[in-house]
């Protein structure tokens, strides 16, 4: 992964670390106060807008306020109406991501270890990675129907490529010297993979997993929008077409929260796995 694709959180973290200790309270918490402040301000303006400006009847139809969205979200959890569609979506997500991991890791190691195989697969991987996976959705629906499996397939092809490419890169960057050492002590290809290649590739794989989680959630949403009969995405589309805008936003919040929570979880595992290293491998 190139360093150019910097994560916003990294940038902020670097700035915070740079702030010298012993400054005033405002100085120390400036970033947090300003960051939270802008979000609060946006919500407040949004909330106040219909009270300050008279909206036309047409606009009112698809206008909602944050308090309304929170209320809807609360009642969805309180009545338990969210659990059934959320469960359906989560099932497709977990199944698709799981299959992607099971396929991508061994294939990535194999391609990373064999120049011939990687040359053979390269055009296909480049092509599929550049193409938005969404383009296959009508085809996948035709082949797998409206049920669970078309969702699983969309999630799978979305999550496969970041995992595969990162595993491949990680394997290829393994220390040649270490591989030769292990070989001289009589290790076979299996032992080389277990002792050198896979541990070296782990940080790369975790970055791939972080990307894959995001892609997988996107896959669930999109697949449920266009070809499904149940799931949280379906609830959102139905709400949009009947002008229940608050439900659309409530669904968006749930998806965003899940995405953030899972990305943070992967990041935690990532940091834990890196602890034994003298320095971060991607530096």
């Amino acid at each position: 992964m190139s360093k150019i694709d910097a994560l916003p959180s990294d940038i902020v973290a670097a700035d915070r670390a740079a702030a010298a200790p012993g400054r005033s309270l405002w100085r120390r918490y400036e970033a947090t106060i300003l960051g939270a402040g802008s979000i609060v301000l946006l919500l407040a303006v949004w909330e106040a807008l219909p009270r300050l400006v008279t909206l036309s009847a047409g606009t009112k139809l698809f206008f909602t306020t944050p308090s309304h969205v929170v209320g809807t979200l609360w009642s969805m959890f309180a009545t338990g109406s969210i659990w059934a569609p959320l469960g359906v979506s989560a099932g497709a997500f977990a199944l698709g991501l799981g299959i992607a991991i099971v396929v991508a890791l061994p294939l990535g190691v194999l391609l990373g270890r064999s120049a011939t195989l990687s040359a053979l697969f390269d055009p296909f991987i480049t092509a599929f990675n550049a193409t938005p996976r969404l383009v296959f959705l009508p085809l996948v629906m035709l082949w797998f129907g409206l049920g669970l499996w078309s969702k699983v397939v969309i999630v799978f092809i979305g999550a496969l490529f970041p995992l595969l490419i990162n595993t491949y890169e990680g394997v290829r960057n393994a220390d040649k010297l270490l591989i030769n050492v292990v070989r001289s002590f009589g290790a076979d290809e299996w032992a080389v993979a277990r002792l050198v290649v896979v541990p070296n590739a782990l940080p790369y794989i975790m970055v791939g997993l972080r990307l894959a989680v995001g892609r997988a959630i996107l896959g669930v949403v999109v697949a449920e929008f266009f070809g499904s009969t149940e799931g949280l995405g379906v609830v959102m589309v139905r709400a949009a077409s009947s002008y229940h805008v608050d439900v659309v936003f409530a669904g968006l919040i749930v998806f965003a929260a899940l995405s953030l929570a899972m990305t943070a979880m992967v990041k935690l595992v990532e940091d834990r796995l890196q602890r034994w290293r003298p320095q971060h491998a991607n530096d």
Partner: protein, 267 residues
Amino acid sequence: MADIAVDIPAPRASFFARHRRALLGLLAVAVFLAAWQAVFLVVPFNPLFVTKPSLMLAGLLDMIETGELVDALLASGTPFCLGLAAAAVVGVAVGIVMGWRTRVGYALDPLLTVFYASPLVALAPLVVVFFGVGTGAKTMIVFLLAVFPFIFNACAGTRAVDRLLIDVVRSLGGRERDLYVKVIVPSVLPYIVAAARIAVGRALIGVLVGEFFAASEGIGYAIARFGDLFALDRMFACILVIMIIAIALTEGIRWAERVAFPWRVGQ
């Protein structure tokens, strides 16, 4: 995954040895297409379920001849270009200010991160309801999806600007405007090109979502419609066209990055 481990060609290396990777890749694609075409000699062919490369090619040529393909591409290309251009202008401007003015960065970073992390595609139905079916809604979806890579990369690029250069311009009497034009923009440019590569992919998704969801024209609409009509040869032909466009755009920008900013290669 391109351009790896091509050994420095020895003077007497054969043609095959020098282009081994590319040749193997071509071979794999050729074998794949041949196998796809040949498998129906054994397996019964059901045109409602799959298609063959020969039929796909015929469908493609037919759509080119009738002008159908060009019309669809134009209908999709307009919102794609408009949305992407607007995203680049707005995103780069916001990103540079965020990176340059620390407090603006503090204020906007968490908010924009939340937006970037949430699946904004989910807002597509709302955008369509708001802007109606057509170029407006599609442009808006493309803009929404493509603007964030520009913001975050321009911001990261601005923060990576060499402070020494800034001090030099300042001490030689440069104004704020000179800083932007002479120091910040040139060093931010590689980040922006990288952002463009990410944004192009997201913009393509935006066009397709808009057209799958509500449209009466465009390449995404064509794919969905041919799917409904079980015209799989044309559907595959359209998918192939999108694949080629996506590869050309992504690899084109990658190539431009290598040529224009060779010092960044390998990062």
